[in-house]
Symmetry: C2
Subunit: 301 residues, 2 copies
């Protein structure tokens, strides 16, 4: 089944203890769509400036991602720069220039409105509402958010929760949103406001999925080298939603598998800058790491 | 099979965001022995001062723990006080008074020297060497350590590694010992110096076990309330070694189960101050939580 992904396309300048890149293609829509494209058709809705060369998007096109929903506006593309210390869970934003992204307010074209799977990347909750207004009874709505909206657009975000099936959020954000330090309490607070399922991402420590009274823990994959954590969360969401769209099965068992597929895509993303590692993956690589995840966590009683 | 545990008995004064206790029975030997006593016979080798009343140790005696190896010396019992902030992974030591523990240098009594399972709690590595010198070909030696010895007795500690089967250590200590930030690299560094198996404890994020090229990840158990993390690591070790001593099986599969039993005992410990929660457990409670751990991590491919 097909996925609509609404999010950002950015040019990222990133410094980590292991290297530096300038104006690398990034943004939530980029990471999500590349990760999801291994599993299902993806249409991207985003905005870029007149400065972003077509060649930059060629790798996405080559993966069969539908880019017709990317609006090109006069002006500059969204730019972000950040730096990670040795503890790669902590990052410092050096600069954020929203540029054309500041006025992003997309009209979803007719043929995408009936798409069954919707992913709303980390954008203004007001915008997330307006996008959902345009969709015709999607089967699954998954959203992300960030601290900026939790503090700045809290009411809109909380209203959004009642329209969302699955919220994907990191641990610090879950705590900030709920006002609860305990992650179990945070998850319950969120679930009480609408989403049937909450996934709390914990960086190198993996992810927790909460559904009603059940919870599932997926570890971070132990890697020899974590090169650049940028995009790990959106790659997780891409693998997760992509796998669900491919399998068309929203049972608890399949959601668990989807979390592992999401974790797998995230674990590849952080091994290189940008989506470089994802672009060189074959389906076999993904399946092999999914089996490694099982080996990593499996025990018999 | 029987276990000898050499470690500290302390009176802990602990403040957490959820409450405070004064001079609560603690120390590595206390947490370890209570946790292990659910699985196998445990003999404790430790030292206490003339101020520690027998009644304080009565709960351990009631659990069948052999306390004859506890030497009572003139002077005061080891006292530690610490405080935890909301992020319970971070603790601040307020005071440490080693008192009689400072001159702890035990002679292991004859009948314990042939015991097959040996746990050396976090004590001076020189002392850990002298204890191993007294043991007669133990089947399994498991040790803990801490940052104080990593910086202060580095050479002795590194020599000790070649005499140890399993090192249990927390993530910050593994990084400090190895000089490697990456946990996989840290574990390899340690394994290259002797232990066949390294378990890296990550507090609320669970534990990783490394053996040769294989690794196993156990999550932290999501709890409604973490009351006091003191003793979680030693309770982990107690459940882990206890389960191995009970089952007498050192295969990879069984070591994985033992990590889950260790994680289970640790998860109970943090629900109350001291060993209070452990003392009220029945075997059924432990088995139920072990099954919950399986439910928490299980997925089918």
């Amino acid at each position: 089944m097909a996925i609509v992904c609404v999010g950002s396309i950015a040019l990222d300048t990133v410094k980590t203890p292991f290297g530096k890149v300038r104006e690398k293609l990034g943004g939530s829509a980029t990471y999500f769509s590349v990760a999801a494209s291994f599993f299902a058709p993806v249409s991207v809705v985003a905005v870029i400036g007149s400065d972003l060369k077509d060649a930059k998007l060629a790798p996405l096109k080559a993966r069969g991602i539908d880019l017709r929903g990317i609006e090109r506006r006069k002006g500059k593309t969204f730019r972000w720069s950040g730096e990670y210390s040795y503890d790669l869970n902590v990052r410092e934003t050096i600069e954020t220039h929203l540029n054309v992204f500041e006025e992003f307010d997309p009209v979803i074209r007719e043929e995408l409105r009936g798409f069954p799977f919707v992913f709303l990347g980390n954008i203004d909750p007001d915008l997330q509402h307006r996008i959902l207004d345009q969709m015709i009874s999607p089967r699954l709505v998954v959203t992300d958010t960030m601290n900026y909206w939790i503090s700045g657009k809290r009411d809109s975000l909380i209203k959004l929760l009642s329209r969302v099936d699955i919220l994907v959020i990191n641990d610090a954000e879950a705590r900030e949103l709920s006002g609860e330090y305990n992650l179990l309490a945070s998850a319950r607070w969120i679930i009480d406001r609408g989403p049937q399922t909450v996934i709390i991402k914990k960086g190198e420590h993996g992810a927790l999925m909460f559904r009603g009274r059940s919870f599932f823990s997926a570890p971070g994959f132990p890697l020899d080298a974590v090169f650049d954590p940028t995009g790990a969360g959106d790659s997780f969401a891409g693998g997760f939603v992509g796998y669900l769209a491919k399998t068309e099965d929203l049972s608890e068992d399949n959601l668990r598998r989807a979390v592992i597929y999401g974790s797998t895509l995230a674990s590849f993303t952080v091994e290189e800058f940008g989506v470089d590692k994802l672009l060189e993956l074959a389906t076999d690589d993904i399946e092999a790491r999914v089996r490694n995840f099982r080996e990593l966590t499996h025990f018999d009683l």
